[in-house]
Amino acid sequence: MVTRLFAALRERLAALVSRDTFEDDLDEELRFHLDHATARHMRRGLPRDEARRAAFRQLGNVEAIKEAVRGETGVRPLQDLGRDVHQACRQLLHHPGLSAIVIVTVAVCLGAGAAVFSVVHSVLLKPLPFPESHRLVRLFNSYPHSGNPRTGTSVPEYLDRRELARTLEEAALYREESNTLGTGEGGRHTFSLRVTPSFFAVLRVSPALGRLFSHEDDRQGSPRVVIGNALWQSAFGGRPDVIGTTARLDGVGYEVIGVLPKTFRFSTWDAQVFTPLHFGPRDRAVEARHRDNFQMVARLAPAATVEAAQAEIASLNAMRLDAYPPELRRTVTDAGFSTVVRPYLADLTREVRQPLLLLWSGVVVVLVIGAANIASLHLLRVRARSREMAVRLAIGAGRFRILRQLVTESTVMAALGGVLGLLLARASLNLLSAFEVYQIPRIDDVGIGWAVVAWMAVAVAIVGTVAGVVAGWSVLRRDAHLGLWTGRAGAAGSSRAHRLLVSSQVALALVLIMTAGLLAASLRNLTAIDPGFDPENVAVAALIIPASRYTNAQARLDFLRRAVDAVEAVPGVGRMAAASQLPFSGSEGRTAILPEGIAVQPGEAVAQPYATAVSAGYFDTLGIGLTEGRPFEAGDRRGAPRVAIVDETLARRYWPGSTAVGKRLWLGANPGSRDELFTVVGVARPIVQDNLRQTDAAGALYIPMTQTSFGFVRIAVKFEGDRAAVWSAVRKTITALDPALVPFWTDTLENSVGASLLLQRTPMRLLSGFAIVGLFLGALGVYGVMAHEFGSRRREIAVRLAVGGSRRDIVSLMGREWIQVVGTGILAGAAGAFASSRLVASLLYGTGPHDLRVLAASLGTLILAALIACLIPVRRAIRIDPAVALRED
């Protein structure tokens, strides 16, 4: 029994594995039969030929017999698939050119799709690398009426929420900083996070080595540090005995207590150094509320939703607000204060979501255009084989069987293209770095993983099936017998499917072109904006003057003054500025201000302008003009009367109709004492701070660095000539003053401004690429339908010419087809473009779907491409020699 089972199994396996042997055996067996039958007929006196024919007649249809024998092998479905694939490959090789076009089309479309999908997946979809990361939320305060829709969180709020909020399992504060690790030559700049001890508990991270912070570390206030895995490898050689050693941060010794796991990655700030935050009693005071100097991340309680947390925090806020002094309460309420709770992942990706989804839609459209192309190419190819199809139908092959064969063929092509596409996608992901994508969260994780391969498999299956079914539907729905006689089953009529495909391609291509055009117009509008300062030839960098060695403000100021003097003496350097922040540097330091003698009206929010501490050379270096008053001078020193410069926006708001110069104001939302007043000495032109799409509504305020305290400064140097040479001289000059101080984050202001347009520029470029591919594929489609039109009307055209029709008649005959296909496409495409432009509205600037120039340019490009596409077929049509063409059939 077992042996027989085994034999049966072997039989099946043998039939499956050695398909060729099976077929060969069958061939040989039938040949043997026919030879003997022929011999017998010859013995009975028939001549060889006739004997052979008689033998065939007697045996019957050899192909049908083979099919029947195969049907009896018991492994039919698999074997059919094998044979289908085999035959599909033979078909591919039979038309290598056409196959190559289809495969390359699939590869380009699916490759682009896979590349974009891998980005969408890694950035938007993949969960964060923390346990139950969907429960992580970010909380921030918002003061929309003060022009400050997003700030951070204050310490009292943190303490409150940890204690009282039941929807939050754990909450933490953190602040992004940067330090110099080590000293002297070995010193390096590192990104760091100062975190509450609860931080790692919120994220549920366990250390790779040592331990993480406990609340003991909070209380003791001893300098301890946790380091990231990358830093551990690069600076400590990955040694396990690093725990307990001392690391010098900005010159101060910290005990290394733990190393984070390799997978740890938090926000876009690639911090490698973590130090604990300490809060004193002062931080808990009511005045400390709304000093939103920290960011908050929290973990929702197991059953809590974001909405529930939002509601609870709002009521907690309201409760605290009741206890405020009335002045402060009014100020805060008028500013429209609220706390926003957002899912962490959604918040992290808030800026890239829309551009990515736009790109995703773009690539899907390209995919559909490509799929339509593949379907129509497959259709043409299958139609060329309609005689074969008809024969197969006639000998009894099932329609379903043929359809399956066609689907297999298109799927094999799609699969080959898909594999090629994955390679293309991988290669194109390497180009990501060319797009300044470092600002995009989680972009480092992008790669071709299983998710992308799975996506590709699904896409291949869909493209293959659709192409096969469309082709099959077109061939099989007609009476197959026609094909036997004409060799061209219902050639003229069945191109309706084809026309429909091409029209939709034209439509989709138009949508792509128009969207890309609108984005390009927006980008042009954005780059044409005058930011209010002159970014040309300004080199920027950051510098830390550590409080550990420059212990008081005066010492830091002295160092800075010496640095400015030395740098300005470097040949090629114009002026040098130092400031607490520079436009487009990514920092957003704001302060509420209260002008003296101006009562803020009920319901009117206190302004929270950008507040920048600047050195005397700031306005010259950045080319910001003063419309009134004077810049800061040497006399504005520590101890001298406090001075400030406001921009025109701020001046107009508080002192409309009169000059702002001479007026006085307090920093902060509460009036202070008289000697805390700042006197306005000048009015500057407004500048764009960090977003070209808007000048800041709240305005800007400048105070001299000499009258404030700082440790971290941005420096800007106006230079002439070669940036690299000038910059290395500047660097040398500064390190000559203090070898431990190395400028970092070196860039040019022009680059910073340009980089701020990343989320406009990159989608625009990529979408333009998609539009070009889409246009090309669409044109290919138009070419295909016109060439086919010509092919099927060859005779008709010849007859028309023969009976005296003019070339012009022929052109109009072909033109009618063109207009029908392209015109339908354009109408549908224009409608689609209008509909879709609403989806990209938030990415547009100074333009819209009504932009006639973009519309005209898009239409022009499309029509031109479609005209070029029909040039060859039309040329061939009017060059027909009737005498030759009519004799052909």
Partner: protein
């Protein structure tokens, strides 16, 4: 197929039985079986030669026959089929069924004749 007008096609389902019977006499190749079927049936019914091969494959799959490549008398390779033990049992079984069926059919036919 013009012959089928004058000669009845082999009764549905009986081809397998006939093939098994022929193989009981010894191993034989497809062509040989076709020839034998034609001559042995005395031209009474026509075996569609084309349906012989699917039938052989079917029997093979059911384990009733087994196939082997061997040399013929005039030194040509041919696929010989032979009865397996299971095939022999099956043949006995079908032979019984057949005689019972044909006996019944004959009786019915005889009954009809008497009636007429």
């Amino acid at each position: 197929m013009t012959d089928s007008d004058t000669r009845s096609a082999v009764l549905l389902g009986t081809l397998d039985l006939l093939v098994l019977k022929l193989l009981e006499l010894g191993p034989m190749h497809g062509w040989g079986l076709a020839e034998q079927l034609e001559s042995m049936s005395d031209g009474v019914f026509c075996v569609n030669q084309g349906s012989l091969y699917p039938a052989l494959q079917r029997l093979k799959r059911r384990g009733l026959v087994r196939a082997r490549w061997r040399m013929t008398d005039n030194a040509r390779r041919a696929r010989y089929y032979e009865l397996t033990r299971k095939g022999a049992t099956q043949l006995e079984h079908e032979r019984t069924t057949w005689s019972r069926t044909s006996g019944a059919v004959n009786r019915v036919l005889a009954f009809n004749r008497r009636e007429g």
